[in-house]
């Protein structure tokens, strides 16, 4: 090797030996880099070419979206062996959703959080849910005295309970934060995430004042027989690893006219849901007749999730 003149660098002396050594070191170095990055290659081989080049949800044509939905459905069926359908639910014209919660009758049973967990195909080991129920101390609305990990009969003495989920703000800070429009507000007020577009920077999670957003720190684990087969592209389909997710007011149900899962699970009827544009809706009656309040009103986020006390 040293006999040859591999390539001539314009410096004086010792060119051949040094250059050869350097070339050797460079080869070794490259090999080392390749070895170090090998796990990435394993991961990359699991990626899907079509998904990689997939456009933003709102730029997809009807046909393109149909192809994607078919593919997602097919994959989910293959993976779970259940008759999964991944649909695309569009907002209903003339509907803007709002939610109200009666703090006087909420007993803190966490049935809503549990229903959310099941309905939205949440990761089982972390018992993930879009709803966190705070056990609050009577005498104020002070989250500093709140506790989410209570584990004793409810309602406790001198406690009241405050379930918190996405407030579907009219002025959502998470949407402004996103650098790539992977999260946006739809015409019915629901803030959604395109799981196939999100890059997982988690700026929205930092921006949300209500701890409403969740990140998929790993691929969500749901046993196949527990998978909810009624899925939607923007809501409860099983999320990929490394992207954000959030409460969508169960748009796969509510955009079909049904109640969100958390409302149906509530044993006391503390939850009121409906179309805020319909003057005869229950939610309108609550807003007009109860003294409702929103969380962190001073931030100007204009939540569409209202709380009220009866007594």
């Amino acid at each position: 090797m040293s006999e040859k003149k591999p390539f001539s660098l314009p410096v004086v002396g010792e060119v051949d030996r040094r250059t050869t050594l350097k070339a050797g070191a460079a080869t070794l170095g490259l090999a080392a880099w390749a070895a170090a990055l090998k796990p990435m290659v394993e991961w990359a081989s699991s990626l899907d070419r079509d998904e990689f080049f997939q456009k933003h949800y709102r730029e997809l044509t009807r046909e393109q979206l149909q192809v994607i939905l078919h593919k997602l459905t097919f994959e989910a069926r293959k993976e779970t062996g259940k008759p999964v359908t991944v649909k695309d639910h569009k907002p209903i014209p003339g509907v803007v959703f709002a939610y109200a919660l009666n703090l006087s009758i909420c007993i803190g049973c966490r049935k809503c959080a549990e229903a959310c967990h099941v309905e939205n195909n949440h990761d089982r080991p972390s018992n993930q849910s879009y709803i966190r129920v705070f056990e609050m101390q009577k005498g104020g609305i002070d989250f500093e005295k709140g506790n989410t990990t209570y584990d004793r009969p409810v309602p406790g003495k001198d406690k009241y309970y405050m379930p918190v989920q996405c407030q579907q703000c009219e002025n959502p800070p998470c949407v402004s934060a996103c650098p790539i429009e992977a999260t946006w507000q739809e015409s019915d007020g629901i803030v959604v995430v395109d799981y196939n577009w999100c890059i997982g920077c988690r700026y929205c999670e930092a921006a949300c004042p209500y701890h409403a957003r969740r990140f998929n720190w790993t691929k969500p684990e749901v046993p196949p027989d527990e998978v909810n087969p009624n899925q939607s592209y923007l809501s409860n389909r099983i999320r990929p690893q490394g992207v954000m997710e959030k409460c969508t007011f169960c748009l796969h149900r509510t955009r079909e006219g049904r109640m969100p899962a958390c409302l149906e699970a509530c044993p006391t009827g503390a939850r009121v849901f409906g179309n805020i544009l319909d003057p005869d809706s229950e939610i309108r009656w609550v807003l007009e007749n109860k003294r409702v309040f929103v969380l962190k009103e001073e931030l100007g986020t204009k939540p569409r999730f209202y709380y009220f006390f009866d007594k």
Binding site: A32, L37, Y203, P240
Partner: protein, 420 residues
């Protein structure tokens, strides 16, 4: 340019010689580069595993959703902005001695920007979707999202510095006098731009109404003040290494000036930190929660207390040392002072500012955070990689400025170009 027969060829030669010089040195140099490469490899591997297994490899949670990576990102942006403190005296005040070494500051800026960009990339859950951020083919939420502003200013700053440094080195390599039209406007732009990168980075945080600990107008000025301490301090260290490890003549003047700058900036930084803390603690209320947790612990949790008090002590000691007469000389005191403030500010801006923004959470849950081994490895890897390219670039710059590397007839295959 027209006088050069084949500019493309001589530029290729410049690149090839740069590559050659950058990999040329004594055993200290090789050991240093070897160690840095090894650490960078460890970091790359840790990152690859993290991408494969998910961010579960980090200790971040939905409560503390940014950690060591973004902390390090913030510091590195400051480091990059700090380089401007050589550019301002050199170009605005025509300090000739500073002018001779200003390239060190610009090279540091390049390396620091690379480090901050890497820190963001490793923080992404889906780095494969990187192209979604590219304006034109992706969806760029500009001007609404502050993160898009940050992408613009950081890449802009990188390009400006690459251009200025590359142009000056190449001209020197050719033995030609640089044409001011081709770099002076960019130098002035870079001064403005250096301020902007750290301001925009502060706006990332202070623009979030839901995070009272960050939501203060003083954040951007504080970022700048601390950047003008850590940046020059880092440059002082680099200059020391370059002076001892090469033939590049470095006058004592620039270092003295940098120490003066540090004195002012450190004092301002401490003053602003103090007024921030006064506002928080005297007024109290729920805005105090993070600061209370940070400095004294809260709800029986004390995770950040050792960090912040280390930072306070290091910053105070460093600042005091910089005010001693010995710091003006090329002394050990100066080195210690530099190390103190660099580490102190790294903690203050990272573990002391990014992390407490999340503790307690927006709904006042206290979930603690300390970086996982993966995070430490990746961060060390980023630093090693940054130092690697900084060393290589310095090596080339020194070679060009000491005329070790230049386009001469001896090395020339094409006819010689004009010499001044």
């Amino acid at each position: 340019m027209s006088t050069t027969p084949l500019p493309a060829l001589s530029y290729l030669r410049f690149l090839r010689q740069s590559l050659h010089v950058a990999t040329e040195g004594g055993w200290v140099f090789y050991t240093w580069m070897f160690v840095l490469t090894a650490v960078a490899l460890v970091g790359a591997n840790a990152w690859a595993v993290q991408v494969r297994d998910g961010m579960i490899r980090t200790n971040m949670t939905d409560h503390v959703s940014w950690g060591l990576y973004i902390a390090n990102f913030t510091f590195c942006v400051g480091l990059a902005a700090g380089g401007v403190m050589m550019v301002i005296p050199a170009y605005l005040y025509d300090d000739h001695e500073m002018h001779d070494v200003v390239i060190i500051g610009e090279l540091l800026a390049i390396a620091a920007i690379v480090m901050s960009t890497l820190s963001v990339v490793v923080d992404l859950g889906r780095p494969d979707r990187f192209w979604h951020m590219i304006p034109g083919i992706g969806k760029f939420n500009w001007p609404i999202s502050m993160l898009t502003w940050d992408i613009i200013v950081l890449n802009g700053y990188l390009l400006i510095n690459l251009h200025v440094v590359g142009y000056l080195l190449y001209m020197r390599f050719l033995g030609r006098k640089p044409n001011p039209i081709w770099y002076i406007p960019f130098v002035y732009l870079s001064i403005f731009w250096a301020i902007s990168i750290h301001t925009v980075t502060a706006f990332l945080y202070c623009g979030l109404g839901g995070r009272p600990f960050w939501n203060t107008a003083l954040l951007a000025p504080r970022f700048l003040a601390s950047a003008f301490v850590s940046g020059p301090a880092f440059i002082l260290l680099v200059m020391r290494v370059v002076r001892l490890g090469s033939d590049l003549p470095i006058q004592p003047g620039p270092s003295r000036l940098l120490v003066q700058i540090i004195r002012v900036a450190a004092a301002i930084n401490l003053l602003m930190l103090f007024s921030e803390l006064f506002t928080l603690f005297y007024a109290g209320g729920s805005h105090l929660a993070s600061a209370k947790y940070l400095f004294f612990g809260d709800h029986g949790k004390y995770g950040l207390v050792p960090w912040i008090w280390s930072a306070v002590v290091l910053n105070l000691v460093g600042t005091v040392l910089f005010f001693t007469p010995a710091a003006i000389q090329r002394s050990k005191t100066r080195l210690v002072a530099c190390l103190c403030v660099i580490v102190g500010i790294w903690i203050e801006k990272g573990m002391g500012l990014i992390i407490p923004g999340f503790i307690p959470s927006t709904l006042h849950e206290v979930v603690e955070y300390s970086p996982s081994l993966t995070e430490w490895k990746v961060t060390a890897g980023i630093w090693a990689f940054g130092l690697l390219i900084l060393t290589a670039m310095l090596r080339v710059a020194v070679a060009v400025f000491t005329d070790e590397m230049k386009l001469t007839e001896a090395t020339e295959l094409t006819p010689a170009t004009e010499m001044p």
